[in-house]
Symmetry: C2
Subunit: 368 residues, 2 copies
């Protein structure tokens, strides 16, 4: 399947990422995290340090890849709450690269982020710098999702040949599973045995298999969104304009119902409008990420379209575990990559994949 990137053709692409780009990258990745994907702050610090030590990372497109190139995806796996405290070691990414090259039987030249949302969008930049690899200006989700099956290559029908996991102790596990659902199950078990957090390398890709099977331009897009956020005096408006997003409501958090269940954060948040939105109420359903926005019994936006709650003053994304009573927030919603709107995309990541008995209605902008 070949699809056109949502916004890439008309917008500037970066050709490298330098230390000065990391702050906007982190702010942008938090926006694409739709409430999940892990806190970006420690990733931001580690990535800045890596780029200062090793210099900028070359950012390439799928078109730049040739027959000698081999791409591997690296990401953190585990509970974001553990990730705040358990840092990774330099030897983990070296073990991953060695394990991936052994399993692939060839040299790896290029890294890609599994998800551009949250810390998993930021960290691969630093890992590429430390490992001397190129970084693909793309990711596997165009946002953040909670499970391994919810990845663009799976939508496109590309099989995952193997996964390598490394923990901070020095244990390395290589998995060849019959499908991504089994990979999710086994990888989650090993992650728990390793203390709740691992780094993983999986989904080896080539120029051929990557084409049309990844979501392109997302590293550049995250830096662009972060720049808009950090440089504007009206950051919410600037971010919305950059993303072609709608502001569904501006208001105040008046209720947070949140429980940790089966390794996920689930619940809902209720927002009461202020100013011109006074009198309106919206409820957002959560599972790690923001999933569905409801108002007066009507669905305004639903997964896989993107919903991010931002601070109304600063424009910075607020992740689901940081939502608190009384926060002044704005709710942004925008259209997902077209790949997620295919039959297979919705089967893997539509509202029903999250247990909601709701049809998917594509988000095309605010109706009111």
């Amino acid at each position: 399947m070949v699809h056109a990137p949502t916004d890439a053709p008309t917008r500037e692409r970066l050709t490298s990422v330098a230390a000065a780009d990391v702050a906007p990258l982190a702010a942008g990745c938090a926006i694409f995290g739709t409430g999940g994907g892990g806190a970006v702050y420690t990733s931001q610090l580690a990535t800045e340090q890596a780029l200062e030590a090793s210099g900028p990372v070359e950012l390439v497109t799928v078109d730049d890849l040739d027959a000698d190139d081999a791409v591997i995806i690296m990401s953190g796996i585990g509970a974001p709450t553990v990730g705040i405290e358990m840092l990774s070691s330099a030897s983990q990414i070296e073990a991953l690269l060695a394990g991936a090259e052994a399993a692939a039987g060839r040299r790896i030249t290029t890294l890609m982020a599994a998800e551009i949302g949250g810390s998993n969008g930021v960290s691969p930049v630093g890992w590429a710098a430390r490992l001397g690899l190129k970084l693909l200006d793309a990711d596997g989700m165009g946002r953040a999702f909670p499970e391994a099956t919810m990845i663009a290559m799976n939508v496109a029908g590309v099989a995952c040949d193997f996964a390598v996991m490394a923990d901070v102790v020095g244990n390395v596990v290589t998995m060849k599973t019959v499908d991504l659902a089994w990979l999710e199950r086994h990888a989650r078990a090993v992650t728990v045995a390793s203390g709740g957090l691992c780094l993983g390398a999986h989904y080896p890709l080539t120029a051929e298999t990557a084409r049309g099977a990844v979501i392109e331009g997302t590293v550049s897009a995250a830096v662009r969104v972060g720049h808009a956020l950090l440089s504007s005096s009206e950051p919410v408006r600037a971010v919305a304009d950059e993303l072609d997003a709608s502001v569904l409501i501006s208001g105040k958090v008046i209720d947070v119902a949140r429980r940790t269940e089966g390794g996920f954060v689930r619940g809902s948040v209720t927002i009461a409008g202020v100013g011109s939105d006074r009198g309106r109420l919206q409820r957002i359903e959560l599972q790690n990420e923001n999933l569905i926005v409801l108002e007066d019994g009507e669905v305004l936006a639903t997964v896989p379209d993107l919903v991010t709650i931002v601070d109304s003053e600063t424009g910075h994304a607020i992740s689901t575990e940081m939502l608190r009573f009384g926060q002044r927030v704005s709710v942004l919603a925008w259209a997902c990559d077209p790949l997620w709107r295919t039959v297979r995309g919705l089967e893997l990541a539509g509202p029903q994949a999250f247990g909601y008995d709701l049809p998917y209605v594509p988000f095309e902008g605010a109706q009111r």
Copy 2:
């Protein structure tokens, strides 16, 4: 460390295992299981079928191995209760062999049992037949133990380079862990994710590393003990003579306190003497295997020495999960391999390794 096998020099060694040897092998492995190691019946059937289909398996000694030989250990991993119902597939052992050869970077020629006790002593004979491999007349425990760390090669200081696990679904996981405690932890997690039972290949050995680091002659010994059991009109006495074991008591099970906890069966069984033992009471502490025999506050025998409860009529071993009120039983105890009596052996598998604040007193025969 080089040690002399306990009983080998004076006793006959088999040079092959044929279908007709499997029934005595299974009965003998159950005796060496000391109450654990998994029920032997389905393994016996599968192994008989494999030997009928593929012919006898060549049984070799460490001295027979040359520089071209590479040994791998194969075993079932998981709860014996699951093993009764979940059968393995032919493709699992093929996947294990392929995974082990890939990880070792060489052809594997020889299989060894991780533990001679229970089904893990029986099944490798059939696997060797199906895979066309030789079988080493040796194992890693000389009995059964519940954890991966409790293995002779670990006592001898030989590192485990890797482990490969395969489940019945087709998932294959290769692990390189920093030590056996981490291997136990990760392998247990993957086993649970696979539904409670996996087959595993681990501890690659060569002629050099195997010497003095495995317990030799145990396949022959299990067949010999099984023959004694099945061919005698006084099977308890015949087994005791063959093993140089003492009969600590003959009596009746009057209490079984047993709970499943942390993936193990724990508890104790109380036996009241009958006949010439009338008036005596013994309690045996359990963790999957029989660990410690107590009478009048005195320790009569303790792990790593071997304690097996047998049916007083048939001589067949009764595993810890099959103990029932009213059974007529005899308790056999005999000395473990000298390797387990070293400082390192007792550190890994002495009474304190099982949480008992007791010194190890070598079992040298019944005192009364």
